[in-house]
Assembly symmetry: C2
DNA sequence: TTGCTTGTATTATTATTTAATACTTTTTAT
DNA sequence: ATAAAAAGTATTAAATAATAATACAAGCAA
């Protein structure tokens, strides 16, 4: 309340809503089911508050509650929200049919991603090959610096933005091969800029090569990427450059975000 | 406040949160971008309230605001919530790899759906053929009575539940061929129960045949469906019954929701 | 330009949220 | 099997934080 008082005599900010949202956002890949006290800890609320908000979220249908364990889970309403997003995003609408075609042509997993803070979020996923569940989940987040999509996005930022990102955005080691050296990443980004598309090898999943081409908005900024993930067992880097990258670039360029 | 007072001296219910959620839920396929007053109308709040909640949602990153038009759109956070749901749902986790296989075998669009109220919501979509955008959107909702998935779900409900659903759940005419006669739907549901899978022809998209097989939870209730959508130009009903339905049933049966 | 609609800012009022606490049930450890 | 601890639920008095009315500013249409 010390903290809140200092920055929020803003009567246009409804703290209760924000706290409720924090509860919703507490759920993720690692926290799929949470009890009351657990939730309170994670979100940083006292038990009473957690009680009120979970109760409200439950009554409004946003959280399921297992009557046995009394633990909470996200409900299908979370999926409805995603649908609302997808309908609202012109990039998604335009990219979708082209990605389906591309996926059939290549026979490989094709995705579309957008930047959110220091992460990229997959907004379209068209799986064709079995891999980890994470690689199939719509809405999944990956640190930008370790992804092909993030790297080509960085390459198209202003010098300052890019510098800042390279210096400050998080780099957790996901696989043993994740590059954590920032100057090394800077080089990868530079290379991406030169060739026009980003590449990431073994960064998030071992034996996986990611390739990402940028789609620009009317301002000339990168709206998102068209991305493809392939197995390095099956594809050499050479073949990726020669056969996949050009197709991705072609598709990316064909997506025209006029308005 | 008359209404609120009568039912909610419940101090465990946070009205502000609920109103904020209503704002979020105002966005859908038809309402992709909303101004302040528009939002206020849709959600049933006065302008002041709409102002406070949109402001909060914007500051917390859940709504984007176009600086030009000052209209609001859902943000990528909506997608993150979806990811949280997907990770939390064992049905999704188990179904995903099997659906990918199935999709490759059949070369047709394969989905998984769950029931939410009187609608089914698609939780997995694996598009392989171009169709309407609606048929590709994860989280999209379809009235249960007009979908193959909904029909097989109904078939496995208790007599009372089914009766109630058949009598009260909404049936909007989506295509000219949408069946709006409830006794006709009752027959379709009955047939679904007998053959073990649901069928819907031209119900949501013309020239589309939907086929859905049920996946049961440990309680013997339908947890969700494995569904396939094909073009009636390409597939006869006979072939659907002989070639697709058995494969769907097989896959559905192989998904074992023990815990 | 004028009038009309939509969005923004400010404020006093009070209804609503808060957090403390006691109670109940479930789980864990002895 | 029993006791102790932890987790969830219910109740309440206090006051903070949300409310809604209103005035102001900025866009848009006629």
């Amino acid at each position: 309340m010390a903290k809140r008082a200092q920055e929020k005599q803003d009567t246009l900010f409804v703290g209760s809503l924000e706290k409720g949202l924090r509860i919703m956002a507490a759920f993720n890949a690692h926290r799929t089911e949470l009890g009351l006290t657990e939730l309170a800890e994670v979100v940083g609320l006292d038990k009473s508050a957690a009680q009120r908000f979970t109760n409200t979220l439950h009554k409004t249908g946003y959280l399921e509650k297992d009557p046995e364990s009394r633990r909470f889970r996200p409900s299908l309403k979370f999926m409805e929200l995603a649908a609302a997003y997808l309908w609202s995003d012109p990039f998604v609408q335009l990219a979708m049919p082209k990605l389906i075609d591309l996926s059939r042509d290549l026979g490989e997993r094709v995705n579309a991603a957008r930047l959110a803070g220091s992460d990229i979020i997959y907004v379209i996923r068209i799986p064709t090959q079995l891999t980890s569940f994470a690689a199939m989940v719509v809405g999944n987040k990956v640190q930008a610096l370790s992804s092909s999509s993030g790297r080509i996005m960085l390459a198209h930022m202003s010098e300052e933005e890019r510098q800042l990102a390279l210096e400050t955005w998080p780099i957790d080691r996901i696989t043993p091969r994740t590059v954590t050296d920032r100057s090394q990443i800077a080089r990868e980004v530079e290379e991406a800029g030169q060739q026009g598309y980003g590449i990431a090898v073994n960064q998030n999943i071992i034996n996986e090569i990611g390739i990402a081409a940028p789609v620009f908005d009317r301002m000339g900024r990168v709206a998102g990427t068209v991305q493809c993930s392939v197995s390095s067992q099956k594809w050499s880097l050479d073949r990726v450059h020669n056969e996949i990258a050009p197709r991705l670039m072609e598709v990316a360029n064909s997506i025209n975000l006029l308005r």
